[in-house]
Symmetry: D2
Subunit: 493 residues, 4 copies
């Protein structure tokens, strides 16, 4: 058993080294950047702005008299329920899981504390976990992303939810604390998105880890934190890196970005893609998706890369590989997809042509040095939601989207189908960790076993009316494979 | 000279034969369908709903004391001016025309009465016409599409504009009448979009045609009306069919729809395109654009066609050519692009699967038999602006977009660049007709001369930093072409 | 009736003005360029080189004792028959025509003299014409393109064929003459490809035109000649321009070149397309096909154009529009598709980089100034059939394909399906002209009526198992169309 | 040190279990299947058929009097040298390696015995190894693939080469033996392609492994054998699996097959791709390449898969996922890309439609059960090289390509650029293994270190005039990466 008390001091430093634009108070140092990213939620139809009272100051109960939750307005439950029902229709895999596990309840006895975006899709996940036998307490991983109606429906359904749209940072940590710090209940599973919940437990309730069987973490940021903990020998429980499962990666990055880059640019700028010159910085999965979509729409796309293998892929896929400086004067759109920092800096921005659109599809808000644009000689003009014109003294305008934060989170929506894949992966990871025999998983970070990744994929095939071929016995023998998979080595993408 | 008085009676019948869903009052019979289509205008930022007084009941003057206009609110002029300035940046061809014609004023003496969408882009056109020497009076061709701020800026700039967002039908005709029925001023050029203005003059002021040098008509509907008039021998002046110029066609249909089908579907439904099965009815330019875009995004696209040539093109472009019934049960999205009526009928709708999205990219609202869905056993649920769920007794939901009206007008925006091409074509057509020597044009409908079409295109090339090659003398001789064009036969597309 | 005798003198001049690289003897001046283009025929399996005797010096008879033909070797008939049978399988439209017309024999009485490539596909056409009632005599339109086995099978089947692979120019005209100059038989229909047959009759037997009902001409060159005749008022009979029918155009140019550019480049150079920089000169149908294919294979494609409309299309389709000089130093492949002359000249060739591939997909051999490479300081090295390395003094090599002649004729094969469309169009044009009532066609050049173009397309749809939708009566009325077409205006492409 | 003598008996069995169509003599049991695959070599211009004497019976010497080789004809050396020079131009990475290593000679002392295809590209590799300090002895890994001229040039250059086109099986092993069984020379490195050389040494000269520092193996087959040896604990030296390096994988499979599927089909059948219905069995890298290419050319592509992840990728990429039986009656082309056996069996072949083309892009000749077609009621007709018509009693013809062997090896050529990547990887693997400090590599099978994979890629970027971006110090620190890579985790593809 690792010594959590001692660990804590160092650990704080580790987290505080992470880049953050919010640094007013001590606690805020460790709020994950992703938790303050802006977030576009297409389904918030009801007006939440009428009531200015903080949810923390209200006492609400659901129709059964249960008050163990804290949300905006329990009266919005009906509306939220309809949203959940619509989401259910596009999350066939979770619904299938519910059915298949109806008898066995593989999560019987599981006490899951969760910290994710609270949306209709998450609600379908939570209700699935519940159907599989788990008890759940939940907070939001982002101060803007909660769909209040959905939170209401969950509270009405008996879930202990602590979240609302527009939390303050203090609210954010208060909600997380309410999830874990509860009399007579202690979580034995963590489902995290960004690592803030995990961080809080490490910091405040390290002893809780004695009973925790594992952590399931979805985000790049959270996974990064876990690997750091693991490297430092401070990870006390097995953790499942859901982020890097093949299926999730391809959907969250390649397939989803292929669509959301177009959507995000259109909704904000109505730009015509045909004939536009675009430079995409980074040719990983996100970059590949963006490039493919824009090329298909008739844009002329240039790529920058640091990795020669990705660079060669860009070449073979038909993109000129350039340094940003070579094309910065001529392009109409600049898109960052690197995960790196300061990829687009003031020097580049100074050289862009009038009307150039600048946006970020990569990580957080580090890729474009937006801070460098906050200088007196430049005028900012907010022309639409998420769209700023930054105007140079000579009249040149740069169109900056979402202030350099993630375009696809801020200015487009994520299809339910993509979220379904993530949620199913999370559910299976919980089941795996919760039921794994002693010793299968050590205090380390694991990828989802290939076979389960394949299972997630198979649950989504019916959506496409797709018919999988089965190996004959003879073929399975010839290939040296089990007929039920796994079919590929772990490194297969 | 044709006998306008006699013509009138027959003519009314002709117009009233055209399909129309609005038929309450006699006048309304001849309002063109397109004039009541819903219309999405991304740039209406200011709230126009605060003042319930009808503009017709208000007396407003601009800062120079001029009151010969009727708009929502002259105070919005500044805001509208900025919109116009932004549009100017993306309409380089009109700005170039202004410059080139600065000295000669090719429209000096022209009195243009116009009836088009009143948007920032139209304002750039009007101010260009004015810079070229024309006087303009303008009404809206659609009761929803006017950008009130832009109308205000135009009125402030001295234009006689009669239009606001949300006109009644009575308002609609009143505004048109105010444009033409004015003491001491008589139009000598008509710029029409839909044919309503032309119709009104035919009906009410046939003698005006004595002074009119020509009509420039943009829309399919209006052009159709003109050809009918011509066939019937009742067209009294030359008319220029701007709609069928190559450049406009390709941009309005192929290139624009290639982008707006994705945009319209995303904004309304957030649907993921990858893996979706889609049937596109019609493989003309619009259908070609839709199919190309969806295929590029990973959809599986089926096509229906009546024309064997277009059908063969669909085959060669990689689409299965089917009858609608063959795939109606399996598709996720149905898109009509035919210009035909009742392409999707209740029988099809009954057989679609749960969640199927149905929308129209073709003409007006005839393609989908929406009326057939207004039966008691079906429940309509408005889930977002422009999105209805139509629910069958067994719970099946069809997602109907824009109530079957044009998706790209209702649910996406048209890029300024596309409008720039149309507006430039209109301006050149006016110049051509106004300056044509006696006898060049008869009382007939003409296509823009190929060479002017090429000129419009050439004015838009700098936007793409595109460099045209020039023929050498030797090459021109070899090809038997003038070095300045036209370069292709008229039928070239 | 036009005065043919007088016409002749002028007419000769007209033809001799046309560019020609072969000018040794007087007669050769008027051989059409296309008739000496190299030609790749994949299906010549049997060795024709064993017998050096000229066919003109041999006396052969078919198995029925008929000797009215002149071919290489009648013994190859069986082999040729199999080729014809294989071709029949891919020419369903002609086979369908045979069946439909079995009773009526629409060409009964027709005496067709033809001058086309003599291949298995032509044989299917000839046997179809025969089945429809026509008598045929045939010569080759190209001295290299005859499939000797097929000619043998035709001769064996009773056709009077005069053609073999590797004719001399003298042979060429001798064969044509044998087709028309025959006792007791006079043609009443001409089917020409290149205009040489038509020219010969004009020159030698102008009186024949008295009985000729019409000319069907397939090639650009031949059509050009006909329009010149027409312009000069010297066309004595109606002529059908088959070349410009929509279906043929799209297939011969867009769809066929989309495939043959890849095929031709691979077969000659084994070049990898991915990442290659390519400049395509000309963005007509051929250029569009080439660009689409290369872009799809991962090449980076630049386009040059003289026509602003095509230039704008290139931009919107995602290609940088440049002048050739801007990119000539950096590209790996140069492809001409202009129909123009001297598009690539020595100055360009001097600036190309080592290993640059140069080829022509446009017209004849005028586009690349190959003659300019025949200078002493450059070394030519034939490295494969149709592939020359031209080596500069500094060691730089340019890879010149097919000596600048048509790549797709020389280095790839034309799919039977494409030829099926052309052949069906020719058959229908013959039927139309032969059966047209007096006065429908004047002494002019006509395009195939739209409806027949549509008919050709419809005959090819079953190949793709494509199901056409039929208009309802109500829809036809709404659209103002006949249910059986034509469905589009003539200018529709 | 492992006990090789004992190992041998078992080992033989292992190899003999592998599928093989050739089983006449005992030795032939262990010839690898790939060594007898047909092979298309575009560059064999000189006629090798004139001399029927077996090279084994000839005594030849090169111009320096050296006779330690056995090839077809030393007189072809000049021609082969030109081929090598042309290949050098497209293998810039090896040429760069030669230059960079000029001083240090990283392979000084290396004695490399090689068994690969002997082509111009291999010659560039061998001469590079030699320039880096190695001595080389070489045999062919395939009895058909040797370019005799190149072998002559190598022999003339002093290399001990034992290979000619059209070896018998006995010749095959004799040549291999001549490479290793030589007085006073013992190899210390093995470069193998297919595992036959390695197998021979295991079998005949196991003691040689005492001095061997490592094996570099390129092929799937050979790697499979090595893993089996490793699993059985019988691998005595470290082995480098070159086959699975990212760069090679993408090029050999995705990028190369994307082009060669089109090339192979065109060269053999001249089929038009537009509108064709195609089923591709398997959606790994090869399948992905085939599908992308055919879709781009206008084919309608169906996919079969056993792996749900690949299946989902196929769906998202826009392909209908089916079982083979669902579409077998309707498709025009069937392509196998599975690596599996009996994917297409007689039952499928019986149901295919007339004219259906069947070919294999996967492994060896197991995927299509060609043996099942060798029954009396079916007629085989060889219509071209590599093209058979198999004719059913009712006249139905199936077009079988390359008798079910690899289409891309048999019927198209592999671009030099692809071979350059493989050859560079091989060279680097040899350098790595030869110079690795004791203990870095155990008796196991290794993947090339990521960093060297990246190095291979970077050496090929100049070909595309591609400009890599370098990390700043700040960025490298932020990402936790070395500025020189590796940039991605090992599993990145």
């Amino acid at each position: 058993m690792c010594s959590l008390q001692i660990q804590f001091a160092d650990q704080k430093q580790e987290f505080s080294k992470r880049p953050s634009k919010i640094g007013r108070r001590s606690l805020s140092r460790s709020i994950s950047q992703s938790s303050t990213d802006s977030y576009s939620s297409a389904a918030s139809y009801t007006d939440s702005s009428d009531d200015e009272t903080s949810p923390r100051d209200k006492q609400q109960k659901n129709s059964k008299g249960n008050g163990d939750f804290c949300i905006k307005n329990i009266k919005q439950a009906d509306f939220g329920r309809r949203e959940i029902e619509i989401a259910e229709q596009e999350m066939p895999a979770l619904m299938a899981l519910r059915k298949r596990a109806q008898g066995e309840k593989p999560l019987a006895g599981a006490k899951v504390v969760g910290c994710t975006h609270i949306t209709a899709q998450t609600a379908v996940l939570m209700e699935t976990l519940s159907a599989l036998g788990a008890q759940c307490r939940w907070a939001a991983c982002n101060i803007y992303s909660t769909q209040n109606e959905v939170a209401a429906a969950l509270a009405e359904g008996g879930f202990s939810v602590f979240a609302w749209k527009g939390e303050s940072e203090d609210d954010f940590w208060w909600c997380i604390d309410r999830c874990v710090n509860v009399e007579g209940w202690q979580p034995n599973m963590i489902l995290d998105d960004g690592g803030d919940l995990t961080h809080w437990i490490y910091k405040k309730y390290p002893n809780m880890f004695k009973k925790i069987k594992g952590i399931v973490e979805e985000s790049v940021t959270g996974v990064h934190r876990l690997y750091q903990l693991s490297k430092a020998g401070k990870l006390c429980v097995p953790a499942m890196n859901v982020n890097d499962s093949v299926t999730k990666q391809k959907f969250d990055n390649l397939y989803c970005c292929r669509e959301s880059i177009l959507d995000g640019l259109k909704r904000t700028t109505d730009v015509m893609f045909g004939g536009k010159q675009v430079v995409v910085c980074g040719y990983g999965e996100v970059g590949k998706g963006c490039c493919a979509a824009l090329k298909a729409m008739g844009s002329i796309v240039y790529v920058t890369e640091i990795d020669p293998i990705c660079a060669l892929q860009a070449c073979m896929d038909g993109f000129r590989l350039v340094k940003l400086n070579e094309v910065i004067r001529q392009v109409d759109i600049v898109i960052t997809c690197t995960g790196n920092k300061n990829v687009v800096v003031r020097e580049h921005l100074d050289r862009m042509k009038n009307g150039c659109i600048v946006c970020n599809m990569g990580h957080s808000n580090t890729e474009i040095d937006v801070a460098s644009l906050r200088t007196p000689e430049l005028t900012w003009e907010r022309v639409r939601s998420q769209v700023d014109h930054v105007i140079w003294p000579d009249g040149k305008r740069i169109v900056l989207l979402a202030e350099g934060r993630l375009l696809n989170l801020s200015c487009s929506t994520v299809p339910t189908f993509v979220l379904s894949i993530t949620a199913t992966t999370q559910a299976l990871a919980l089941i795996e960790l919760y039921n794994a025999p002693e010793g299968r998983y050590k205090q380390d970070v694991y990828l989802l076993p290939k076979k389960m990744d394949e299972y997630v994929a198979s649950l989504h095939l019916p959506t496409f009316d797709a018919h999988l071929t089965e190996l004959t016995d003879e073929q399975a023998k010839y290939l040296g494979l089990n007929k039920n998979g796994p079919f590929k080595p772990n490194y297969y993408r």
